[in-house]
C-alpha cells in the first residue's frame, strides 16, 4: 500500500510545482537581435587588470577598459591609435615619452578620468604588496624595478609623473622605441584606487567594478557566463551591439556543437582534428598570430656543445612535413621572428638539407653513428607536442641515422625540469606580449630567464639592445637580421619549427568581426546583420 501512497504523493508534489515561479536567468532577458554570443574556454582567473596575466582575463578586461593607446585592428595592421591618450611623443633617444590625456573621458560612475588614475594603476602594478606577475612590464621605466623590489619606498622617485599641463611623462632607464606598445597592455590600464580601497578583493564584482571602456560588466556568474552591456557614455564611438553573452566552455568540441546548433555566433580554437572538414565551410576564417613553436638545445651538454651537431639536427628537420601533419595551417619557420612582424625574413635560417646535415655529423666525428651519445627530446604532455616530437624523431632517424629518445612530463613538472637545465632538447613556444620583434629577440639574450639553452652571446645581446633603442625601422631591421643570423644560422641554440594560425567559425549573423594577429577580440567593432 505504501508503494501506491508514494506514487500518489509524487503526483501531488508534481502538481504543486506548477504553483511556483520559474527561475529567471539574466540570459533569457537578452534579445537575440541585439546580442552577440561568444565563448571563452576557462573562467577568467581574475578581472583585476593589475593582476591578470592570461588571455581570457585580458579579453574581458580589454572590452570593459581602455588603455592609453590601442591597436588599430581595422586595417589588420599593428599600428597604434589614440585611446585615453590623444597624442604621444618622445625625445629622439626614445628615453622620455609624453602622453597627452583626453579631457572628455568619464568613468561609468560619472567621475572624470585623470592622468593620476594611470599613475595609481602603475603604482599598484609595481607595488610589492600587490604581488603582480606582470609588474615587469613597467621595468623599462626608471627606478620601477627598484620600487617593485622594495628597495625604493617612494613612488615619486619612479620615472613617471604628471606635468603641469596634465600630461603623463614617462622617463625610461634606456631608450625604447617600442615603449608605446606597453601602454596598450591591460596591466598598464588606469585604476580607481578609491573603489579598490572600499571593496578590497571583491572590487571586480559586477556591482562594484568601475570601468570606462565600450562595455560594462553586467553579470559574472563564475564558471558559467559573463554578460557585457554597452556603455552608453563611452567617450569614443559607441559599440554596435548592445549585449555580449560569453559562455564559459572548456571543451572546443562542445563549443563547436553549440555553434552548429546556432547557440554561439563565433568560436575559435577549433578542435584540430576537425580542421580539414571545417575549413571547407563558408563560416571558416583563419589568420596568423604572433606565436612560435621551437626546440631549444642545451649547448652545454654533449654532443650539443659542438655547433656542427646543432646545425645538423636543424637541417635534418623538414618543417613542412611537421606542419602538414598538424594540419593547422602553421607556417614553417626557420628564422626567429615570425611573419607579420618587423624583421621577418623567410630566407633566414637553415633550410632542410639532409645531405649537408649528414656531412656535418661526419665532420663532428660521428661518422660511425653508433658512437653518438644518447639524446633525449623532452616536451610537456600534450597530443600535438607528442606528434611533433615523434615526427622529429623519425626524421632524425631517417636523415641522420640517429635514434633519439622522447620524454614527456606534466606541464609544471616540465617547467621545473627546464629550470634545472638538465634537458638536452626541449620544446617551447612563445606568444607575443606586444607586437614588436624586441619581444622575441630579448627572449634569447644571455640574461633572459626564458632562455634555457645556456647559450649566450655578447654580440647578440649588444645587437638586440641597440635595435631596441632605435626608432628608424630600416636600421632596426638591419640589426635584427644580423642578430637572427647569429641565432639561427651561426650558433644555432634553437631550432624554430613553425608559427601558428588562429582558426575561427563566424556565423552568418555576424556582418563584421575584426581579427588581428595579437589575437585581441574587440567587441565594440563587431556588427550583426
Amino acid at each position: 500500500m505504501f508503494y501506491y501512497l508514494n506514487i500518489v504523493l509524487l503526483c501531488l508534489s508534481l502538481s504543486l510545482a506548477s504553483c511556483f515561479k520559474k527561475k529567471q536567468s539574466k540570459q533569457d532577458e537578452l534579445p537575440l537581435q541585439d546580442t552577440l554570443r561568444f565563448n571563452i574556454s576557462t573562467e577568467p582567473p581574475t578581472l583585476d587588470w593589475s593582476k591578470a596575466t592570461d588571455t581570457t582575463s585580458s579579453l574581458i578586461v580589454d572590452n570593459v577598459m581602455d588603455g592609453l593607446l590601442d591597436y588599430d585592428s581595422s586595417k589588420g595592421s599593428l599600428k597604434l591609435k589614440p585611446a585615453l591618450a590623444e597624442k604621444w611623443s618622445s625625445t629622439p633617444d626614445s628615453k622620455t615619452w609624453t602622453f597627452t590625456i583626453r579631457k572628455d573621458v568619464k568613468w561609468n560612475d560619472g567621475k572624470e578620468f585623470k592622468a593620476s588614475h594611470v599613475l595609481d594603476g602603475w603604482e599598484r602594478l609595481l607595488n610589492p604588496k600587490t604581488a603582480s606577475e606582470y609588474a615587469y612590464f613597467l621595468y623599462p621605466i626608471k627606478n620601477a624595478r627598484a620600487y617593485s623590489e622594495g628597495k625604493i619606498k617612494d613612488f615619486s622617485k619612479v620615472g613617471v609623473s604628471v606635468n603641469e599641463q596634465g600630461q603623463l611623462v614617462v622617463e625610461l632607464e634606456e631608450g625604447k622605441s617600442y615603449f608605446p606598445y606597453f601602454v596598450t597592455h591591460t596591466s598598464t590600464y588606469p585604476i580607481r584606487k578609491d573603489i579598490i580601497e572600499i571593496h578590497g578583493d571583491s572590487w571586480t564584482d559586477p556591482k562594484n567594478i568601475v570601468t570606462l571602456g565600450a562595455y560594462n560588466l553586467k553579470v559574472w556568474e563564475h564558471d558559467k557566463s559573463i554578460i557585457l552591456e554597452r556603455n552608453t557614455n563611452y567617450y569614443n564611438q559607441a559599440a554596435k551591439i548592445k549585449n555580449i553573452l560569453i559562455h564559459i566552455i572548456p571543451e572546443s568540441g562542445t563549443a563547436l556543437n553549440l555553434f552548429e546548433k546556432g547557440r554561439l555566433d563565433a568560436i575559435r580554437d577549433l578542435p584540430s582534428r576537425e580542421l580539414p572538414v571545417l575549413r571547407k565551410r563558408k563560416e571558416y576564417r583563419s589568420h596568423p598570430i604572433l606565436a612560435t613553436y621551437y626546440y631549444g638545445i642545451n649547448v652545454e651538454q654533449k654532443p650539443f656543445d659542438d655547433v656542427r651537431v646543432r646545425k645538423a639536427f636543424n637541417m635534418a628537420i623538414d618543417r613542412k612535413k611537421i606542419t602538414d601533419l598538424l594540419k593547422g595551417d602553421q607556417i614553417p619557420l626557420t628564422g626567429w621572428i615570425p611573419g607579420n612582424l618587423l624583421g621577418y625574413d623567410s630566407s633566414l635560417g637553415l633550410n632542410f638539407n639532409p645531405e649537408k646535415a649528414r656531412e656535418l655529423m661526419d665532420e663532428a666525428g660521428y661518422k660511425d653513428r653508433s658512437t653518438f651519445p644518447r639524446v633525449v627530446i623532452s616536451y610537456n604532455t600534450h597530443e600535438d607536442h607528442k606528434r611533433v616530437a615523434e615526427k622529429v624523431q623519425a626524421q632524425l632517424k631517417k636523415h641522420l641515422g640517429i635514434q633519439v629518445e622522447l620524454s614527456n612530463e606534466e606541464w609544471k613538472t616540465y617547467l621545473q625540469s627546464l629550470k634545472t637545465g638538465r634537458q638536452q632538447i626541449y620544446r617551447m613556444g612563445w606568444v607575443a606580449d606586444y607586437p614588436d620583434p624586441d619581444n622575441f629577440m630579448t627572449l634569447m639574450t644571455s640574461y633572459s630567464e626564458n632562455n634555457h639553452t645556456n647559450w649566450g652571446s655578447g654580440r647578440y645581446d649588444a645587437l638586440v639592445e641597440e635595435a631596441g633603442v632605435l626608432s628608424n625601422e630600416r636600421e632596426r631591421v638591419k640589426l635584427y637580421m644580423e642578430a637572427q643570423k647569429i641565432l639561427v644560422e651561426e650558433e644555432v641554440p634553437v631550432i624554430p619549427i613553425y608559427s601558428s594560425q588562429s582558426h575561427w567559425l563566424i556565423s552568418d549573423r555576424v556582418a563584421v568581426f575584426p581579427l588581428n594577429i595579437m589575437g585581441k577580440v574587440s567587441f565594440k567593432e563587431v556588427q550583426l546583420r
Binding site: 582567473p45 606577475e133 609588474a135 571583491s202 571543451e251 553549440l258 546548433k261 547557440r263 621545473q416 625540469s417
Partner: protein, 360 residues
C-alpha cells in the same frame, strides 16, 4: 497502522516537500527558502530520530569524532604530498623575474618554513577559512566551493535517483528471468554500460538526441532539456553496476529456504521478489553506495567538461595541474567530507536492512 497518526502525516509532508524540491530544481524553478529549511530540518529530524530510536547516538558521535580525526590526517597528508610535487603554482611558460616571484610568494606565505605554512593553514581551517586560491586571484576557496558544489550535487542526485530507479528493477528482472533473452539483453547492456567510457557515451548520445532527434540541448546548464543528457551519461555506469549487483545477490537469496516457503504459501511471484527477496539482497548494493554517492555528488570531470557544466569536479582535476595548493586541499577535504558522511549513512542503513547488524 493508523494513516492519520501525527508521525505518518509528518513524514508524508516531508516526503512531499523533498520530492517538490527535486522537481522544482529539475524544472529550473525558484525554490523558496522555506522549502530548503523544511528539507534540511526534516532530514536532520529524521536522522536524529532514527539514531536515538535505534540507540545509535553514541555510535554516531563516535563516528563523527573519528571523521574529524580522519579529515585532519587527510589535510596533513595532502599538504605534505603537494609540497613534494615538482613545479610550483607560479611556474609558467614565461619565467617570472626572481624579485616578482619573491613578492608573490611573500603574499601567500610561501617564503616561510613549511611548518609555519602548515600551522597557518590548519589554524585557518579550524576557523572555517580554507584560504585564497592562487589561480583565481582574490577568490576564497569556500566561495568557489559554495558556487560549484551545489551544481555537482544537483546533477549527482538526479543521476543517483536514476541509478536506483532503473538499476534495481533491471537487476531483479534479470534475476527472475535468469538465462532468458531478457536476462541476457539486460546483462549485455549492463556490461556495456560499465565498460563504455563516458567520453564515448556522451558524444554518441549528443549525436543521436541532439543532432538526429533534436530533443535536447548539446551543452550548458540552464534547464530540464539541458539536464537530461548529462544525467544519462553520469548515470550509465551506476545503473549498470547496480543492475549487475542486484541480479547477483537476488539470485543468491532466491534459493534460500524462506523464499521457497513464501512461494509454497502461494504468494505471488512479484510479491515474493519485491517484499522478501529484495530487502535481503540489497546489502551488496548498499555497500557499493557509499563511494558511489560521494563520487557522483562531487561530480564527474568528464561529464562536466563535455557538457560545460559549472560544477566542482573540474577543480578536483585542474587545481592539481595549476598547483593551486589551497584549492586542491579544499576540494580534497570537501570530497572527503562527502565520502565520510555517505559511508556513515550507508552504515546506519545497514542495520535497517539487516537487523542482525548491531551498531554500537
Amino acid at each position: 497502522m493508523n494513516i492519520f497518526s501525527f508521525k505518518t502525516l509528518l513524514s508524508v509532508f516531508f516526503f512531499i516537500c523533498l520530492s517538490l524540491t527535486l522537481i522544482l530544481s529539475f524544472l529550473n524553478y525558484e525554490i523558496p527558502s522555506w522549502l530548503w529549511l523544511v528539507d534540511l530540518g526534516g532530514l536532520l529530524a529524521f536522522f536524529s530520530y532514527y539514531t536515538i530510536k535505534k540507540r545509535m547516538l553514541a555510535y554516531v558521535c563516535k563516528r563523527i569524532l573519528g571523521a574529524l580525526f580522519t579529515l585532519f590526517i587527510i589535510a596533513t597528508v595532502t599538504f605534505v604530498l603537494l609540497r613534494t610535487l615538482p613545479g610550483g603554482p607560479f611556474d609558467q611558460e614565461k619565467t617570472l623575474p626572481p624579485e616578482i616571484k619573491a613578492n608573490i610568494e611573500a603574499k601567500y606565505h610561501l617564503d616561510r618554513p613549511l611548518m609555519y605554512q602548515y600551522g597557518y593553514y590548519l589554524s585557518g581551517l579550524v576557523q572555517g577559512d580554507m584560504g585564497e586560491s592562487y589561480k583565481y586571484i582574490g577568490r576564497n576557496i569556500s566561495s568557489i566551493m559554495a558556487e560549484t558544489l551545489p551544481i555537482s550535487i544537483q546533477l549527482g542526485i538526479y543521476a543517483l535517483i536514476l541509478s536506483y530507479l532503473l538499476g534495481i528493477p533491471f537487476g531483479v528482472l534479470a534475476a527472475s528471468r535468469q538465462n532468458t533473452w531478457a536476462d541476457r539483453t539486460l546483462m549485455v547492456g549492463a556490461i556495456s554500460g560499465v565498460s563504455l567510457p563516458s567520453f564515448l557515451v556522451a558524444p554518441l548520445l549528443i549525436l543521436f538526441f541532439c543532432f538526429y532527434l533534436d530533443w535536447f540541448e548539446t551543452a550548458l546548464w540552464e534547464g530540464p532539456s539541458y539536464y537530461i543528457l548529462p544525467l544519462l551519461v553520469l548515470g550509465t555506469r551506476p545503473v549498470s553496476f547496480i543492475a549487475r549487483l542486484t541480479r547477483a545477490s537476488v539470485l543468491e537469496v532466491i534459493q534460500s529456504d524462506y523464499v521457497r516457503t513464501a512461494k509454497a504459501k502461494g504468494l505471488h511471484h512479484w510479491t515474493v521478489l519485491y517484499k522478501h527477496v529484495l530487502k535481503n539482497s540489497f546489502l551488496p548494493v548498499l555497500t557499493f553506495s557509499g563511494p558511489l554517492i560521494a563520487g557522483i555528488l562531487t561530480g564527474s570531470f568528464i561529464v562536466e567538461h563535455i557538457f560545460a557544466i559549472p560544477g566542482m569536479a573540474k577543480h578536483l582535476v585542474n587545481s592539481v595541474t595549476n598547483r593551486d595548493y589551497p584549492l586542491i586541499l579544499g576540494a580534497t577535504l570537501i570530497y572527503s567530507v562527502v565520502l565520510i558522511f555517505s559511508n556513515l549513512v550507508v552504515d546506519l542503513l545497514y542495520s535497517h536492512f539487516d537487523p542482525r547488524i548491531r551498531l554500537s
